[in-house]
């Protein structure tokens, strides 16, 4: 069952001098197993939106339904929400606190009805999924690791609970290129195994490569919601919102402007390469 956001508004610090409308009248649906990218400029309400979906904020008005149930209704079990939805904040390395990596990753499993053996198995799986060797990392202090390693441990801490919906806030910001590639490989693997992914990113290349659908927020309003190909097709519209499209899309556009008949529904590097190969074979030369 999907996530349904119905006409949700959120006002920060209502009734004070700091009152600001962070979101107004947002409605959207996220289907199971989708990979959604959220784009928008700083301060457009992206982080507020995902915090609302994860049940960390309560909407000022409107409803959010998960599996058909209003997550802010009185009798709703918050634990159920926490089990289903995993949220990785920006700079998640700040949340590490335990004495060993193993204990830190196991923190989220504390209240789940699992046996000790099952818990260890989950921790092992999560750490290995995040690219660690379980035996060599388990007893290290998470605070002594490098920045990139810390982030991967934090990710393992969220993965260990095996959330069905994974929400990520700028997960690849300030990672190096290898770190980015490894991280996105992991996300793709989770997505293929059926996890719903909702990911905020400024990186149009990554969204063009991986996302199926893009939501564009602007000044607290949902401006666009469409498949990534459709969103990136209209470069002028994105520029009007001060947003980038992916580089492969730009290259396809440039080729067209040079008078080469080139498909314009390209968003990722794989597709770009494929189209160039075809062009070389002469299939597209008319």
């Amino acid at each position: 069952m999907p996530i349904v956001v119905e006409n949700v508004s959120y006002t920060y610090a209502p009734g004070t001098a700091f009152e600001t409308a962070a979101l107004s009248g947002v409605s959207l649906t996220v289907e199971d197993g989708e990979f959604i990218g959220i784009m928008g400029r700083t301060g457009c309400g992206k982080t507020t939106l995902i915090q609302l979906i994860a049940g960390l904020l309560r909407p000022s008005s409107g409803r959010i339904l998960l599996d058909g149930k209003d997550i802010n209704a009185k009798g709703y079990r918050r634990d159920e929400l926490r089990e289903k939805v995993g949220l990785l904040f920006q700079f998640p390395e700040c949340q590490l606190f335990e004495t060993t990596v193993e204990r830190d990753v196991a923190f989220g499993l504390k209240y789940l009805p699992l046996s000790a053996g099952e818990k260890e198995e989950r921790v092992r799986w999560a750490l290995e999924a995040a690219g660690f060797s379980f035996e060599s990392i388990r007893n290290q202090s998470p605070l002594g690791l490098s920045g990139g390693e810390k982030r991967r441990v934090a990710i393992a801490g969220v993965l260990a609970a095996k959330p069905r919906i994974l929400i990520l806030d700028e997960p690849v910001a300030s990672l190096d290129s290898v770190g980015r590639r490894d991280f996105m490989k992991l996300i793709r693997r989770l997505h293929r195994n059926g996890t719903t992914i909702i990911m905020i990113s400024h990186d149009a290349d990554i969204l063009g490569e991986y996302a199926q659908r893009i939501l564009v927020l602007d000044k607290g309003k949902l401006r666009l919601a469409a498949p990534v190909k459709e969103i990136f097709k209209d470069i002028a519209r994105m520029e009007a919102l001060n947003l980038d499209v992916s580089r492969p899309r730009k290259i396809a556009h440039m080729l067209l402007k040079k008078g080469i008949s080139f498909p314009q529904d390209i968003t990722g590097y794989g597709e770009l390469l494929g189209a160039i190969k075809k062009l070389k074979e002469g299939c597209l030369i008319s």
Binding site: P14, F18, R58, Q95, F97, Y111, A161
Partner: protein
């Protein structure tokens, strides 16, 4: 969730915003003294009325002005109970083991709590109507004489202003870490005391780490920009005091005198 920020400067243009920070600080000291000496019903009445008037003058919303009080309400409850239960003067209404509930004790508890509440609101008004830099400048200006006995006034002022400026940042960060830990299963919302207590470490440790890191980075940034400590003067508070500043100080002094000697 959705907390009103406390102790944060709220820009505005009320009479209190326009008063000089030095005058406001001195007034606050005088009113604090008055509050401590207040010991009669009219005395309390005057202080409460005065605080209410100041809130109205500051242009703050009542909810914002009283926000800090709300956050320490349990603490006040404890203070009240300590006074009410351990006062052995007067007749006891109810006695058990070492506890001794008496009207005198309850009155004493109510007085202490009232004083603390008014004090918190007064401090909150100062913080909300005065920019942190102005408070620092005022402190330096008022403490300057201590420089003659080799007390590093400007360094102290800088420390105070840095501490004040970091309060909102740290509060924001606390909120963010609380959310991050909640999202991965901490139970701050749990009604069970044990689960609530277990959620404290995941909050406190990351905040300490980040506060130390911030302090380190700030120290480096300050050094990189040429701060060497000691002797450097922060700019003087702008201009001489105005008529309204003197009027306010005179008024505060009068209240102070009234409470100490007259009532």
């Amino acid at each position: 969730m959705n907390r009103i920020p406390i102790g944060v400067y709220i820009p505005g243009n009320s009479i209190l915003h326009r008063l000089d920070a030095r005058a406001k600080l001195l007034c606050l000291i005088a009113l604090t003294a008055a509050l401590i000496y207040a010991n009669s019903l009219p005395g309390y009445g005057i202080m409460a009325a005065l605080t209410a008037i100041l809130v109205a003058l500051s242009g703050l919303k009542l909810k914002a002005a009283c926000a800090p009080v709300k956050q320490v309400l349990p603490f006040f409850a404890v203070i009240f109970l300590m006074n009410a239960l351990f006062n052995d003067q007067g007749q006891a209404l109810w006695s058990w083991w070492i506890f001794n509930l008496s009207p005198a004790g309850m009155a004493a508890g109510a007085k202490v709590v009232l004083k603390l509440i008014l004090l918190m609101i007064l401090f909150n008004i100062l913080m909300s109507t005065t920019a942190p830099m102005k408070i620092t400048a005022a402190l330096v200006s008022l403490l300057r004489p201590l420089g003659y006995i080799r007390i590093p006034v400007s360094d102290l002022a800088l420390m105070i202003s840095v501490a004040l400026q970091f309060i909102p940042t740290l509060m924001e960060e606390t909120e963010m870490i609380r959310k991050a830990q909640t999202a991965r299963g901490a139970r701050f919302e749990s009604p069970r005391l044990k689960e609530k207590a277990e959620s404290i470490m995941p909050l406190v440790i990351p905040i300490f780490i980040s506060a130390f890191k911030r302090a380190d980075e700030l120290a480096l940034a300050m050094e990189a920009r040429g701060y060497r400590g000691g002797g450097q003067q922060i700019k003087k508070a702008a201009g001489p005091l105005g008529k309204s500043d003197f009027a306010a100080m005179l008024f505060a002094a009068a209240i102070c005198w009234l409470q100490i000697f007259a009532l």
